[in-house]
């Protein structure tokens, strides 16, 4: 029986993923900052079949609280076997352009708090020689764009950090999985008009579970984003600079 730690468990994508794990009767430990919603999610997962569900409230920008939380999660799960890190905020780019403070806060939430989690997690799991760490980054981290480069650069940091961590843990039995969703219909993107490129959260969740099971290093979800991002990354800067999207 494997136990999964889910960070940012009230995220729509994380919750959909957790439902798939609950249906497989797995053991779950949930961390999120909104107590009422967290409790609703935890209860729901228990009804849906999870073997045991533990939860605790935490603002992940409170870095000092990470270590005790990991300790409790480890205890509850009988050893963390898998981790999904899903929390994040879609930064208001225009507002960031006017406020350094906001920009740094966004980088803190989307990048530094993730890095702060990854180091102790990597050390714990590698010392046991087993496990998998998956983090939801984004296609937005593949190349900075005018419309959201604060968020994008935070995700780029996460992607690069994971890539290095994956090399480091290669011989320690720990899989490091970079999840790169494209456009997903969730509360984070409620204000956007949805078109053909948009995916349902359930589809992305199924992709995350598959990546866990197969220990895939990097997944684009849905998969059609891989060729799209290949082209976007390959565009010469002289061309890319003139585009606006």
């Amino acid at each position: 029986m494997s136990g999964t730690l889910i960070i940012g468990a009230t995220s729509a994508i994380a919750e959909s993923t957790a439902r798939l794990l609950a249906a497989r009767h797995e053991r779950l430990y949930l961390v999120a900052r909104n107590p009422q919603r967290l409790k609703a999610v935890a209860t729901d997962l228990a009804v849906r079949g999870a073997e045991r569900v533990g939860h605790e409230v935490l603002d992940l920008n409170d870095l000092a609280a990470h270590e005790p939380m990991l300790e409790r999660a480890d205890g509850f799960l009988g050893g963390i076997a898998r981790v999904l890190i899903a929390h994040g905020t879609l930064s208001d780019q225009k507002a960031c352009e006017r406020s350094i403070e906001l920009t740094l806060r966004e980088l803190h939430t989307n990048a530094l708090s993730v890095v702060a989690l990854l180091t102790p997690l990597a050390n714990r799991l590698s010392s046991r020689g087993t496990g998998a760490i998956a983090v939801i980054s984004s296609v937005a981290g593949d190349r900075g764009r005018a419309s959201n480069y604060v968020y994008g650069s935070a995700k780029a940091l996460v992607t690069a950090f994971l890539s290095g961590l994956r090399q480091r843990l290669r011989h320690h039995g720990v899989a490091v999985i970079t999840i790169k969703p494209g456009l997903v219909d969730t509360p984070m993107t409620a204000a956007f008009t949805k078109g053909l490129l948009w995916a349902r959260r359930e589809r992305v969740a199924a992709g995350i579970v598959r990546a866990f099971d197969r220990r895939t290093p990097t997944v684009y979800l849905p998969a059609f984003w891989r060729p799209i991002m290949f082209v976007i990354r390959a565009l010469p800067e002289a061309v890319f600079r003139r585009l606006s999207f």
Binding site: A40, D44, V47
Partner: protein, 437 residues
């Protein structure tokens, strides 16, 4: 403020709405702009305009999709109002419990099922959905939250069951399920040559089968008037484990420029369906196939093209039910406008719990009509008169056009109900049927 185009299942009305969402059952009722109104929105499976509020706002409940409790000893389930009936069945059937009442699609929310007090093919045995609701929480725009049950705030319970979303938003509900051995049903299909034969068959079928429903060829006339197929079913008593996924097998990927449903295709389909070989058979069938046959075709409503379609569902009570139904079928056959299949079912004597509940003892007839404009409006006028004459009424969940007088006549308690309407709530349907009163 986010705004989006919403339409209902019949696609006749498409309109932009301001959109509010409840992110959690603990959320406050949204503060809407003064002078505006809001209507709770489930999964949009109502056919006409009772789930729409153009010029106003909708309150989405799709994030209220959490289970709260399920006791597999007693079959009591408590869940948030945005949970789909399909999700409940997926969870509970493997554990031996089934929803006591389901409509013809499982893609409706618990909130929507309560607000329309929906009925199923087993109405003659178990009544409507509201008969199995133990309690729910009603959130009002005044920020009050009331637990409503037949004993607690019973007047709010009666107003909200079948209350068309107008009394406030239901945040969660507790339902009593019924035991089943598994996912399978024993289904028998019998052909009948006309309406008299249907009534005779029903006498017996309703006493031996939990579920009964008839499909009628609405193009046949004269001696064959009301010919069709009667399906009767019971839950199988031996269990087979398999619960196939609810995935759609096929789908209608786009809206064709014209309705695919027209006279030629109708005639062909109805004749073939009636004469389909191997009808008098007993079959072992998965519940999804028997109860939700159309759920396998995603977006089948698109077949009707960009102008959409109407459904006409009435109930005519008492002694005159069979005669009135014959007159309705005659009018429809004469007009040659009916759709693939008309559905006919006998409602039982159960008392519906809601002030505005649709079901009452008698015969209910339901059929779809491609939106063909004026000629259809003429036919509807004719049918309305027949329904009124027989003291019947139409089903708001399926309606997008009934005249106000017919609603008020069919639902004499509408004024009493109006006292319970939340001042922040309104719908296109409600304004339409009460405006000229």
């Amino acid at each position: 403020m986010i705004s989006r185009t919403f339409s209902s299942w019949g696609s006749v009305v498409r309109a932009r709405h301001a959109v509010y969402s409840l992110a959690s059952r603990h959320d406050a009722f949204p503060r809407i702009s003064p002078g505006s109104t809001v209507l709770p929105y489930g999964n949009g499976r109502s056919y006409g305009d009772s789930c729409l509020n153009p010029d106003g706002a909708l309150l989405r409940t799709d994030a209220l999709d959490h289970f709260i409790r399920f006791d597999s000893d007693t079959g009591v389930i408590c869940c948030e109002a945005g949970v789909l009936l399909a999700d409940i069945l997926r969870l509970t059937v493997p554990r031996g419990w089934f929803l006591p009442v389901v409509p013809g699609t499982a893609h409706v929310t618990v909130g929507g099922a309560i607000a329309n007090d929906v009925h199923g093919k087993n109405h003659h045995r178990v009544g409507s959905f509201g008969n199995h609701v133990r309690r729910f929480e009603l959130l009002r725009s005044s920020a009050e939250r009331w637990i409503c049950s037949p004993d607690e705030h019973p007047e709010w319970f009666a107003a909200t069951v079948g209350g068309l979303g107008l009394t406030g938003v239901i945040t969660w509900a507790e339902l009593q399920l019924r035991p089943v051995a598994g996912a399978w049903m024993q289904v028998e299909t019998v052909r009948f040559a006309n309406l008299d034969e249907f009534c005779r068959l029903c006498e017996n079928a309703d006493s031996v089968s939990e579920y009964t429903v008839a499909w009628i060829d609405c193009l046949s006339r004269g001696r064959r008037l009301g010919r069709g197929l009667l399906q009767q079913a019971n839950h199988s008593t031996h269990s087979a484990p398999d619960v196939p996924a609810h995935d759609y097998r096929i789908g209608m990927p786009f809206v064709p420029p014209l309705s695919v449903v027209n006279r030629a295709t109708l005639q062909l389909f109805n004749t073939l369906y009636y004469h389909r070989p191997r009808w008098r058979t007993r079959r072992h069938t998965h519940f999804q196939q028997f109860l939700f046959p159309l759920d396998r075709i995603a977006h089948w409503n698109r077949l009707y093209g960009p102008r959409g379609f109407y459904q006409y569902q009435c109930v005519v009570p008492g002694e005159r039910a069979a005669d009135a139904t014959a007159s309705l079928l005659q009018a429809i056959a004469r007009s040659r406008q009916g759709s693939f299949l008309a559905v006919l079912k006998r409602f039982g004597a159960a008392t519906s719990p809601g002030l505005l509940s649709f079901p009452q003892q008698g015969l209910t007839l339901a059929l779809d009509f491609p939106n063909s404009g004026e000629s259809l409006e003429r036919l509807f006028g004719e049918l309305d008169a027949l329904v009124a004459q027989a003291d019947g009424r139409l089903y708001p969940a399926k309606d997008g056009r009934m005249p106000g007088w017919l609603f008020r006549r069919g639902y004499p308690q509408w004024q009493e109900f109006a006292r319970y309407i939340d001042p922040a709530c309104s719908s296109s349907f409600w304004r339409r049927v009460t405006q000229e009163a």
